[in-house]
């Protein structure tokens, strides 16, 4: 009983729920502002994502006449709850050690696609041809980027496990603990390919250029999100903010988890700073410097670059490097 209550709190307040939402939205605000600076613009206020949500809350939600109403309205909640659970599984080194009893990296691997699945459900429920096209694109892209992700997770688990002398250590708590003792994977030559693969996976899973094919605005009019409005659209934005936080946090935990000496508060900030750095490198700058791939190009890209990179690290970890 105690366990469930604390787990609930972790999901709703910290590090999931409110905290991850706030941090995720803030990161998005920074992202937009930095992006603007790269394009010689002033950019929106830092808190613009919050303002956008306030606005969406004040609008009406329209449901297309031909849509499946229940699926249409429930879809955004799937992604949101999935990500709230996922966020609780991400340790914040020096402040929160995670919930190994609730789930490991494999559970995360299953949770991460939920927002994309929510998009697909919403897209197909909306019965718009653009939604359908977005559905098939999201599906194809997901298959492509899940392979390198799995390889990265396994490589990290393998390396952490090998040191302990057991099989792959799938618990993030163990992965973090191992690195705090034996050095961060981000500085280990054998794991650099995996880090690179993860950096390439990030824009894919978050659907930002050059991998924004499912929502390609100028091609298929935002795809699955086309028919959403008001609070329902807001939930998608929330889920997206949470997911940003989860995947960035996962990256930090896997490659740069070492905390600073100091209290929990210092380390929460340190954790966020590392997330920010990761985001700027793999999302903000990369997004500004590229266009959008064609769906087939995006698909082959993942199989051609991140997948072999991640597999290389996995092999090296297997061999004990």
């Amino acid at each position: 009983m105690e366990l469930t209550l604390s787990a609930l709190l972790h999901m709703l307040l910290f590090p999931g729920g409110v905290f991850a939402l706030g941090a995720g939205l803030l990161l998005k605000g920074v992202d937009r502002r930095v992006q603007a600076r790269l394009q010689r613009r002033v950019g929106p206020p830092l808190l613009q994502p919050f303002l956008d949500l306030a606005k969406l809350a004040a609008k009406e939600t329209l449901v297309p006449e031909t849509a499946n109403r229940t699926a249409f309205l429930a879809a955004p909640l799937i992604g949101l709850t999935g990500m709230a659970v996922a966020a609780a599984l991400i340790p914040v080194p020096g402040a929160y050690s995670g919930m190994p009893e609730m789930g490991d990296m494999l559970v995360l691997f299953y949770l991460l696609p939920l927002p994309a699945i929510a998009l697909m459900v919403g897209g197909s429920a909306s019965s718009s041809p653009f939604g359908a096209l977005g559905f098939s694109r999201e599906m194809g892209l997901m298959l492509a980027y899940e392979i390198p992700l799995l390889a990265v997770l396994l490589a990290v688990a393998m390396k952490a496990g090998a040191a302990v002398g057991a099989g792959p250590a799938l618990s993030l708590t163990v992965v973090v603990g191992h690195q705090m003792a034996a050095g961060q994977f981000g500085f280990s030559p054998a794991m650099l390919p995996a880090l690179a693969a993860y950096l390439l996976f990030l824009p894919g899973t978050l659907g930002v250029p050059p991998f924004d094919v499912p929502e390609a605005e100028s091609e298929i009019v935002e795809g699955p999100l086309l028919e959403y409005s008001g609070p329902a659209l807001g939930f998608f934005h929330l889920a997206s903010a949470l997911k940003t936080m989860v995947v960035l946090g996962l990256g930090v935990d896997m490659f740069f988890p070492t905390p600073l000496p100091g209290g929990a508060l210092v380390n929460v900030c340190w954790f966020l700073a590392k997330c920010l750095a990761l985001m700027l490198v793999s999302l903000t700058v990369a997004r500004a410097a590229t266009g959008r791939f064609r769906p087939d190009q995006a698909f082959t890209f993942f199989l051609k670059y991140p997948a072999p990179l991640a597999l290389a690290s996995l092999a090296l970890a297997w061999m004990g490097f």
């Binding site: 394009q39 700058v285 051609k304």
Partner: protein
């Protein structure tokens, strides 16, 4: 596959800083020649209506008042294409394009969004007929060679103007004869 060739430009952008203009949080710049709302100076208008003739949007309406006191010249900004042909073809320079571009207005103001001028007719000093005004500059040009009191000529109707000029010429001829 992706080589960040454009990255150099982007980093240069960061170094250069935003190119965003202060407006609407600050003032906006407007070139002197900007073709903004049309302005009409009733003191120069002779009522030739060439402006209405060349206006493709039919934005200009000229109507004589029922009491014969003058005419109204109205331009509705909401159908004015700001082409400047009225200004180009206006013989007296009565029409000019201001560089006022503050044109956004609420729907309630739509119908009144006009440049509206009343051009009064003058009453002839000699016979009392209503006459179209002749701008001083135009009159100055017309009567440059005649030694007449332009200010007085302007207050006369065409007929009386002819009489007046003829009288003057007569006086001048007399003077010459005396000399």
């Amino acid at each position: 596959m992706i080589v960040f060739g454009f990255l150099k430009v982007l980093l240069g952008n960061v170094a250069k800083g935003p190119a965003t203009e202060p407006f609407p949080l600050g003032p906006a710049t407007t070139p002197a020649r900007f073709r903004g709302k049309v302005h009409m100076d009733p003191a120069l208008c002779v009522g030739c209506a060439i402006c209405r003739h060349v206006c493709v949007g039919n934005a200009i309406h000229i109507s004589e008042r029922a009491d014969g006191s003058g005419y109204d010249w109205v331009l509705w900004h909401n159908t004015c294409a700001l082409c400047g042909l009225c200004q180009h073809y206006c013989p007296t320079g009565a029409i000019s394009m201001s560089n006022d571009w503050h044109n956004a207005h609420l729907q309630a103001e739509k119908d009144e969004w006009c440049e509206s001028r009343f051009v009064p007719y003058l009453v002839c000093e000699r016979c009392g007929a209503h006459i179209r005004p002749l701008p001083t500059s135009v009159a100055g040009r017309l009567y440059a060679d005649n030694h007449v009191d332009v200010a007085r000529i302007l207050r006369l109707c065409p007929q009386c103007r002819q009489i007046e000029t003829a009288l003057h010429e007569g006086v001048r001829h007399d003077d010459q004869r005396v000399a």
